[in-house]
């Protein structure tokens, strides 16, 4: 019984792996600033943000518009899945250094 259960589980996991991996976009944190501070991503597509914190201090990537929050310790990187989103402007900020760490994600229809 258990054997069949595991075989079923294994079969169910296959399609998950064969999905096309979401495109990756990089954002750097340096001197409490985001680079780039305006990131254009395609509309209606799930993307993977790779946020690299090059400061020694931790930062929290936060966005009310994107409903995302993630602490990124100093000199580490984090992945954050975003989307699929309709076209628009989605601001984000670093909660630990909100005066300087500000940016926005611009979601655009591809080809425009």
């Amino acid at each position: 019984m258990m054997k069949y259960f595991f075989i079923c589980m294994a079969i169910m996991l296959i399609p998950l792996n064969s999905y096309a991996a979401p495109p990756v976009f990089e954002i750097l944190i340096k001197d409490h600033l985001f680079y780039p501070d305006e990131l254009v991503i395609p509309a209606n597509t799930k993307v993977k943000l790779l946020v690299k914190n090059q400061d020694a201090t931790p930062e929290e990537f936060e966005s009310y518009e994107l409903n995302r929050e993630k602490v990124i310790p100093g000199n580490t990187q984090a992945i954050i899945f975003v989307g699929p989103l309709p076209p628009g402007i989605y601001p984000f900020f670093g909660e630990f250094f909100p005066k300087t760490a500000q940016g926005k994600i611009i979601v655009k229809e591809s080809g425009k």
Binding site: N67, V71, P73, I79, E95
Partner: protein, 260 residues
Amino acid sequence: MLLNSVILVLREVLEAAMVVSLFMAFTTVSQQSRYFLLKAILLGLVAGATYAYFLPEISNWLEGIGQEITNTIIHLGIYLFLTGFLWLISSNILLPNRLVKAVMMAAIILAISRESAEIMLYISGFRSDHFLMRSVLSGSLIGLAIGVSCGIFLYHLMIALKPAAATKFICVLVVIVGGSMMSQATQFLIQADWLPSTEPVWDSSHIISEHSLPGQLLYALMAYEATPTWSQIVVYLTSLALMILVIASARFLQDQSKYD
């Protein structure tokens, strides 16, 4: 820097202060010693420090979504312990029962651990900058003081009621906090890509913005989200319904056993 620290710390403290003051009030209403709650607060701070210390490693778990999954487990855990609390007191199992104490302590430890971990990480970032550290520390203390004051205010609001009314009020707030925990857990699962991300069902940011003070307070109380997704709404309502069902069935069984 000072104002940032006040806001950041206040936001984190408010949420944990809710759970702590609810249970403080319940203990006072039950005329029991609050000592075990203080123990839970201290253990929560230790758990928070541990979480903050290992966060770089935890973040790398599960291909980079360890933080989201840990936060989901913490929020889910708080929900389960709060539900256990409701079941026990609705079954008329009250303090100083050890199981009641255990679920209360567990909920407080979990609630404080995540919030305090974030504060500790934030403050530790200024280790090497003594000039900024001073304003960050004073800002954090002010934030902490405001957050704790809100908790004390809520506590006195509840103990001013008659014991029976206070217990009912506490139960209602526990249900609201429980729903908020599950809503946040769902949010973390979406962020980790374990739940599909869908378009928001509505956008109420022009009525109450999450950036505004009422938005922040509502967030602390019931995880207010200006742009919630279907999965969040469904999980939120289901968790509220489950808690109410738990209270109702515990009471029903209680009444049944009286007649037997």
